[in-house]
C-alpha cells in the first residue's frame, strides 16, 4: 500500500529500473513467488486462492443449469465478475473500486473468452447437456482481498487454478423431451461422478509496465504508480496471443508494442510451467489432507 513517494524515492525507483535492478532485487522480467491454494470454498464447484507478494485474490466457479442462447444452442455460457474488496486498498473505499473491478472483469473476459463467449479458455460445447434446451452456465467470481500491483496477472492465474479445481456433476436425462416440453433430468450427487475441465488451453496474462524507457513484468504498486503505460497480453501454451489490453495515458510506438509482445511470449513460457507446477502441488496437498 503506497501512501505517496517523495521525488527522491521516485527517482531512485526509475533509475533502478533503468539499470535493471528493482527495489526488491528482481530483474526486469522476474515474477514474484506465488502460492496457490485450491478448494477453499467448499460450496462452490471450484475455487482457488493465489498470493503473489502482498497481492491476494480468491476466485470461485459456480455451475448452474439453464437454457442455452438461441443463437448458440450447443454451447453453455460463462460469465466473469471481479470485485475489488473495499479493504484491499484505501482507494477502494466505498465505491472507489468499481471502475477497476469493471476494467478487470472486461479484460479477463476478453482475454480468456473473447467477446461472444467463445474463446480459447473453455470448451463451451462441453457444457451442453441437451442441445438447445439445457446447458451448464458457469459463473466465475473473483475477489481481490489485498492489492500490491499486478492484479490482472494474478486473477488470470487464480481463474485457471479455480477452473482446474472445478467439478461439474453428471446429469442424467430421465425422459426424452419433445420439442417444447421440459426434459426430466437428475443431477448426480456422487462426488466421484464429477467431470473436470482441461485447463491446458487456458492462457496466462503477462502485464508489461512501461516505466521510463524500460518495461518490467509483475510491477508492485509502487512501480505501477510510476508507469506511463501498461500492456496486458494473454498468451497460451502454444505461444499464441489470445488477448491484448492497454492501460495508461501515454501512447506507444508500434515497434515498441511488437517488442513487448515478444517479451511477453518469452516470459509466458516459464510462467505457464510455474503455474502448472503450483496447481499440481496444490492438488497433491489437497489430496493428502483428504
Amino acid at each position: 500500500m503506497v501512501v505517496g513517494l517523495s521525488a527522491a524515492e521516485r527517482r531512485y525507483l526509475t533509475d533502478g529500473i533503468a539499470q535493471g535492478l528493482r527495489n526488491d532485487g528482481r530483474g526486469l522480467y522476474d515474477f514474484r513467488a506465488f502460492s496457490v491454494e485450491l478448494a477453499i470454498i467448499p460450496q462452490a464447484n471450484g475455487s482457488a486462492r493465489v498470493r503473489l507478494g502482498a497481492t491476494d485474490v480468491i476466485t470461485s466457479v459456480k455451475a448452474e443449469l439453464g437454457r442455452p442462447q438461441a443463437s448458440r444452442p450447443s454451447q453453455g455460457r460463462v460469465e466473469i465478475n471481479i470485485e475489488c474488496s473495499s479493504t484491499a486498498a484505501p482507494q477502494f473505499e466505498g465505491r472507489g473500486g468499481e471502475d477497476l473491478s469493471l476494467e478487470l472483469s472486461r479484460a479477463l473476459y476478453r482475454s480468456l473468452l473473447c467477446n461472444n463467449g467463445t474463446g480459447p479458455a473453455i470448451d463451451l460445447s462441453a457444457l451442453t447437456v441437451i442441445e438447445g434446451k439445457l446447458c451448464w452456465n458457469l459463473f466465475i467470481d473473483g475477489l481481490v482481498l489485498s492489492s500490491d500491483g499486478n492484479l490482472l496477472d494474478v486473477l488470470a492465474i487464480a481463474v485457471k487454478a479455480a477452473l482446474s479445481n472445478t467439478g461439474i456433476p453428471k446429469v442424467e436425462v430421465t425422459s426424452a423431451a419433445a420439442a417444447e416440453q421440459e426434459a426430466d433430468f437428475e443431477i448426480s450427487d456422487n462426488p466421484d461422478d464429477f467431470s473436470g475441465f482441461d485447463v491446458s488451453h487456458v492462457p496466462v496474462i503477462i502485464t508489461l509496465t512501461k516505466v521510463g524507457r524500460t518495461y518490467i513484468v509483475d510491477a508492485t504498486e509502487e512501480e505501477e504508480s510510476q508507469m506511463s503505460s501498461a500492456i496486458s497480453i494473454a498468451v497460451n501454451s502454444a505461444g499464441h496471443v489470445c488477448g491484448i489490453t492497454k492501460r495508461g495515458g501515454a501512447g506507444l510506438d508500434p515497434s515498441v508494442l511488437l517488442d513487448m509482445i515478444s517479451v511477453a511470449k518469452e516470459v509466458s513460457k516459464s510462467l505457464l510451467s510455474t503455474v502448472d507446477a503450483e496447481i499440481m502441488a496444490a492438488e497433491s496437498r489437497g489430496d493428502d489432507q483428504m
Binding site: 527522491a8 527517482r11 531512485y12 525507483l13 539499470q19 535492478l21 532485487g25 522476474d30 514474484r32
Partner: protein, 201 residues
Amino acid sequence: MLSAVNLPGGIQRRRTVIDELNMRSLFEENDLISAEVQSVHSDGSVHLHTRSLKYGKLTNGQLVKVPPYLVKRLKQHFHNLKSCAVDMIIGCNGYIWICAAVDSLPSNPEIEKITGDSGAPEMDSCNESISLKVRENICRLANSIRVLSALGFLIYPDTIIDTFDASISKGVAIKDMLGAEFLVMIAEREASRRTKNNYML
C-alpha cells in the same frame, strides 16, 4: 509551523512569517525527512525537531517498512556501513531508510542551497546517480530487513549485517532472498544460535 532554520554556514535565525510561506520551496507533500519527535500533543499533532545537520530530507535510497515492535531501541539511529558504502537510519516507527553513503557520492561544493535544516551533507543531489554495486548492496540490505521482518526477529544493525553476510556467503541471489529456502536457512541459523547460548526458544 516553523520555529527556526539553519542557514548554510551554520547561522541560526528566528522565524518570520515569510519563512513559513516559503517552506514549500524546500519541502512539499510526500517528501521524506528524518527528524526527532519532540512532543506529541493531545490533538494528535506532532512537533518535529531536527537538532543537527544530519537530519533533513532523504535522497538516494529506499524505504523499508517493518512492524514497529520489531525495532530494537538503541542509542544510535544513524548507522554507516563502510564495507557496503551504505547509510542506514533505523526509525523507531518501523521506517528504515537505506541510502548510498554520503561520502561515496562525488561532492559538489557549488550546490549549497538552503534545504531547510539539512546543510551540506544531504543536499538536493538530483544529478547523482548511484552505481550498480551500491544499488545492489542497498537492495540486499533491504531484503535482509524484509526477511527478518517476515520471520519476526528483532531488527538492529547486527542482525541485519549478519543476514546480509549470510546471503553473500551462501551465494543467494538478491531476488531469491525473499523465497522460502533462504527464510528457512535464516530461521535455522537463529535457532542453532539460541540453543548454543541456551536461550529458551
